[in-house]
Each structure stands twice: as C-alpha cells, then as structure tokens.
C-alpha cells in the first residue's frame, strides 16, 4: 500500500492520458450495461409470454385502436375460449408528468383479463373489490413497494396519448396488490398497473376503442390456426387485424429480439476489443516512456516482481475507475431510457428495466479484466527489462 502514492502520481501526472483511457473504458462498460439490460428486459418479457395466448391488434400499427364490437365477433370464432380488451394507457404521474416515475399501465376488462392471465395472483376478496369499484386498480408488488402504495391508496395518472387526454388526470384507488409466483409463472412482471377499461371508455366519451385483444385459445397446438382464422374473418372489414401468439407479439414489439441480441452483443464485443487495444496501447506507451525509470527503480533495489506489480496496479486502477464511471453512466442511462423519444417507447414495453447486480458486476469485472489484460504485456516487459541494457542508452 505504501507504493500506492507512487502509482497514483503517475496516473495524475498524465491526467489527460489517464482521463481519456478511463473515459474510453467507461463508455465500453456503459454500453455493455445498457445493452445487456435491454437484452435482459426483452428476454424477461419473452419468458413470461404464453403460447396459448394470442394478441390481436390493428393491422397497420399498434397506435391505432379497433372497434370495441370486435370483441364479440372474435369470441365466436371456433377455438377461442376467452377474449379481453387491453389498452396501453401511457399514463404518467405528476404535474407536469414526471417520467422518472414511469411505469406501465393498462386499461383492461377486469374479469376476462384476469381469467386469461392467472399469473397476476389475487385473492377472491381482492378480485371482487377490484371488479366492484369502477375507479379501482390492481398493481404489482414491486410497483407498490416503489411508491409505498397499499390497498386504498389513491393514484393520479395523466395519459400521454392524445385521445386519452381529457384535460385532467384519471383518479384511481388501489383495490389490490397482485402476487407474483416465480415458480408457477416465471418471468411475471411485478411492476404493472391495471384498471377498468370501462373507466377509460366513460371518461373519454367512448373514444377509446380497443388497443389489443388478448385471447385465450382452447388448444395451444392450434393457436396459430386460430390466429389466422381471426385475421381472415376481418379481412374485408375497414379495420383489419393482425394476430400473433403473445410471444411473437412481444418479440415483434422490439423487432426480432434474437437478432437484436446478436447485434447488440456483437457491438459490445467489438467495442470491448477496441477498448482493450486502446488501453493496451496506452499502458505500453506509459511503460515505454518509463524505461529509464524502471531501470532506475531496479537499480535502487526494487525487485522485478515489485516493478511488475506496480504497473499492473496502475492498469488495475484504470480499470476500476473506468468500470466505476461506466456503471454510474449506465445506471443513469437505464434510468432515463423510458423517457427518451423513440427508444423510450420500446423501453416502456418492458418496464422491468433496471441495472441488475449481475450485469453491474459483470460490467465491472470486464473493466478490471480489461485493465489487467492491457497492463500484462507492459508489466512483463518491465519484469524482464535488464538494468544494464537500459541505462546504457541513457
């Protein structure tokens, strides 16, 4: 430890070089954390998707709603067991809206929706309380914890979607907090907010329409065929539909999740490799400049191992600083992701975003590894350098 000031002085004296290396490393770790978090969020969303459920939406785009009357017609198609309307509400708390407190919220048909989605576990009493209260809402346990809500708490949300804006916030009373059962229903999102679709219809004077229809089929094997039948049924209507399995729907939402992950990982690896080269170059430059100094240290009696360790520690400190800064940036970025234009829309579909300890630890580990790897060769050179070869050239 008594050698630490010596190492730090070198880093401080070359602060431009130190700073730019740390920044480069931080950007690398920042990218890693952000990309991995997005991939994790996408995978998490896909994991919870069920193959026995279909989602029907407007054939043009998710932003267009369909007539409410479609519900009855879909229900009559063979193979369909149950249908529930569900609208992405896009509500935000606060005046003006505070996007840092963003969470996903949906207007749903309570009975049908909860029957189709058994993963939102509620007691019968809670369900009845929810069904009975037009302004009632049920929320996930993580969401309740985040905002300190309990049954009876009131929440005000104002939508960001024009047709749902009525000049004042919607008011809700929490009727229940659903449970998440990770064993029976892995990947269930504990941060969602559901309220009555009827409340939305009434408040918007029936301008709301149906955003999506969630459909449970009798036989999961026939899910794809049922989906085709639904779309065929509306083929010649004004508003045509597009029906997918829930998994495909969610994957489509982030456009080809598999390829996305591949692409993001590819970028991550390329960036990491580049940073490794940059850092290795920095370190070997730093050591080459110090050839004489290293020979002098050895002359004064510093052992080869010690000299090598000093250089490794220097590289390690670069790694630790780069990793630390990268994590801070990554955490901040992931925090604001849902409120960014374009990207935010995607991010909001997967509201379980947050820098997980595993990703953070991996990112930090990569930074430390980068530092050490970059320092290894120069450190070995310093270890091997012979006093008599170097000081002769002074």
């Amino acid at each position: 430890m008594k050698y630490l000031p010596y190492v730090l002085k070198h880093l401080r004296r070359n602060w431009i070089r130190t700073g730019s290396t740390v920044m480069a490393m931080a950007v690398c770790i920042f990218l890693f954390c952000t990309l991995q978090t997005i991939i994790a969020a996408v995978n998490y969303g896909l994991k919870s998707a069920s193959a026995s459920r279909l989602v029907t939406r407007h054939s043009v785009s998710l932003v267009y709603n369909m007539p409410l009357a479609y519900k009855e017609r879909i229900a009559q198609i063979p193979g369909v067991k149950r249908v529930a309307i569900s609208n992405w509400f896009g509500g935000v708390m606060g005046l003006p809206p505070d996007f840092t407190k963003f969470f996903a919220n949906f207007a749903v048909e309570p009975e049908d929706y909860l029957a189709i989605y058994p993963e939102y576990v509620l007691s019968d009493a809670e369900k009845q309380a929810f069904f009975a209260d037009r302004r009632g809402a049920i929320v996930g346990p993580e969401l309740a914890k985040r905002f300190g809500w309990s049954v009876g708490s009131t929440v005000q949300l104002e939508s960001t979607i024009p047709p749902y804006r009525i000049g004042r916030p919607f008011e809700f009373v929490i009727s229940g907090i659903y449970q998440v059962d990770e064993v029976r229903y892995p990947g269930t999102d504990g941060r969602l907010f559901f309220f009555h679709h009827k409340y939305l219809e009434e408040s918007t004077r029936n301008r709301a329409g149906a955003g999506t229809f969630s459909i449970e089929v009798n036989d999961p094997e026939r899910a794809a065929a049922v989906g085709k039948a639904i779309d065929a049924y509306f083929e010649n209507s004004d508003v045509r539909t597009k029906t997918e399995t829930e998994a495909a729907f969610r994957a489509g939402f982030v456009s080809l999740a598999g390829n996305l992950a591949l692409l993001l990982n590819g970028i991550g690896i390329a960036v990491t490799f580049t940073i490794l080269l940059v850092t290795a170059n920095t370190m070997s430059m730093a050591v080459r400049e110090r050839r004489t100094e290293i020979a002098v240290l050895k002359t004064l009696g510093f052992g080869s191992e010690l000299v090598m360790a000093l250089i490794l520690v220097e590289a390690l400190i670069l790694g630790v600083m780069g990793g630390g800064l990268g994590l801070v940036l990554g955490k901040a970025m992931i925090g604001v992701l849902p409120s960014l234009p374009l990207i935010g829309d995607v991010a909001r579909a997967f509201p379980n975003l947050g820098l997980s300890p595993l990703i953070a630890a991996t990112g930090f580990g990569i930074a430390v590894f980068l530092g050490l790897a970059a320092g290894l060769l120069p450190a070995l050179q310093a270890y091997r350098a012979r006093i008599t070869d170097t000081l002769r050239t002074v």
């Binding site: 008594k2 050698y3 000031p5 010596y6 002085k9 070198h10 401080r12 004296r13 004489t292 100094e293 002098v296 240290l297 050895k298 002359t299 004064l300 009696g301 510093f302 052992g303 080869s304 191992e305 006093i387 008599t388 000081l391 002769r392 002074v394």
Partner: protein, 229 residues
C-alpha cells in the same frame, strides 16, 4: 589482500567480463583485480569503451562477472540470485548517475524517500530521513519541488541525497559531473568529499575529467580491460 589486515570494502579478483554479440565475443574486462579499502575515494579513468562502466556495474551488483570474484562489503556479489542482489543493493550501495535519473513525477523529497519504501520504516520516519538527507546536500527548502523545477546541479544533489538516504556503505558514481557546468561540478565534488570525509562513505567514481579525478584519494586507469597506474 590489503596490507593492514582489515578486509577491503571492495575486492575485485581476476574478473573477466565477456559480452556476446551474436557469434562475436567482446572481451571487456580481462582478469582485472582491484581493492578499495574502507573509507577510500577512488577515481576510475580511462578512454571511452575501456570498460569503466562495466566495472562499476560489477562492483555495484547490477551485473555479474563472466569469471572471477567480486566481494563488496563482505558479500560475494556473484553468489547472489537476482532478487537477493536487488535487496543487497538497496542496503549497501548508493547510486549517482551522470543524468541524475530522478523520477519526474515525484517531488525531490519523494525521490529521495524512494529507496526507503523498501525498508520497514513508517511513513513519518521515511519523510524525516528524506528531509535529513536533503539537508545534507543543502536542498531542504526545495523538498516539494519537482525535478524539472531544479537546475542540473540541484538535480544531482537530490540524486546524491537519494543515494545516501538508506545509509549505504559504498557510493558508486558514473561520471557524476559529466553533464554539469564547472561551478555545479565543483559543488558536487565538494559534496562527495564531505560524504567521504565526514560520513565515512567509500566512493568509487568513474570520470573523464582529470580535475574531478584529482579530488579522489586514489586514481586508477583502465586501458583495454586492465588497470594501469
């Protein structure tokens, strides 16, 4: 051996040093012997390429002879392994270089305290000793300055403080005044005389400058790898 029965501080016996450059062998030292009694101040002179630096490196334990024996402060240097030798150097030899070789990112005080990092002294003790050494060379008030803020002569004095801070028995100096103007050179030589006379350091100095050599008690001439008086 030495006449008065006391073991000499430096004893070089029949030392050969051969450098191998590809297939070609360069004989630099060829059966050279030299004794330096404790407390002596020796000047090594000789033309360029005669092997002065090579000999000094052997005495200082930063290189090993091809054949022969080098005993310094009672230790047979050639017998020690790489890391033992490093530890031995840190305790027994002080180094003064032609180009000072201070570490640019460290202050004068930190430069001087550098060899003490290898000891078990506390931070406070290291500081105190470094300041004492800087006082000896008359630069106590420059302790917080960086090498580039010092003149060449001052840099060399800081380097001398570094050489004596761990209180070694032997000082080796390779052309310590080679890069200095005559006034600074004079100061450095006076300082080395003081270290020899008042602090009892045994000094081996390589120099091209006859006036510098004059300040030593004994002068040796190297010519093609052998000594001549």
């Amino acid at each position: 051996m030495s006449g008065n029965g006391k073991a000499p501080m430096v004893a070089v016996e029949g030392v050969k040093k051969v450098y191998r450059r590809d297939a070609e062998e360069v004989k630099v030292l060829d059966g050279l012997s030299l004794e330096v009694p404790e407390g002596d101040f020796v000047a090594l002179m000789g033309p360029s390429g005669s092997g002065k630096t090579t000999l000094l490196n052997l005495i200082a334990g930063i290189d090993r002879p091809t054949a022969g024996k080098v005993v310094v402060a009672g230790t047979d240097v050639a017998q020690l392994g790489e890391s033992e030798l490093a530890r031995w150097r840190s305790r027994n030899v002080g180094f003064i270089f032609q180009f000072y070789n201070l570490i640019p990112v460290l202050t004068a005080e930190e430069n001087v305290a550098l060899p003490l990092l290898l000891t078990s002294l506390s931070k406070k003790e290291r500081r105190e000793r470094a300041l004492t050494a800087l006082k000896v060379v008359g630069l106590a008030e420059r302790s917080q300055h960086y090498p580039r803020q010092l003149s060449g002569g001052q840099e060399q004095r800081v380097a001398i403080a570094r050489a004596i801070v761990a209180d070694p028995k032997v000082l080796v100096a390779d052309e310590p005044t080679g890069d200095l103007d005559s006034k600074s050179a004079e100061e450095i030589l006076a300082l080395m005389e003081t270290l020899n006379r008042d602090f009892g350091k045994t000094i081996v100095m390589v120099t091209h400058d006859p006036r510098a050599a004059q300040r030593a008690h004994t002068q040796h001439h190297l010519e093609k790898g052998v000594l001549s008086l």
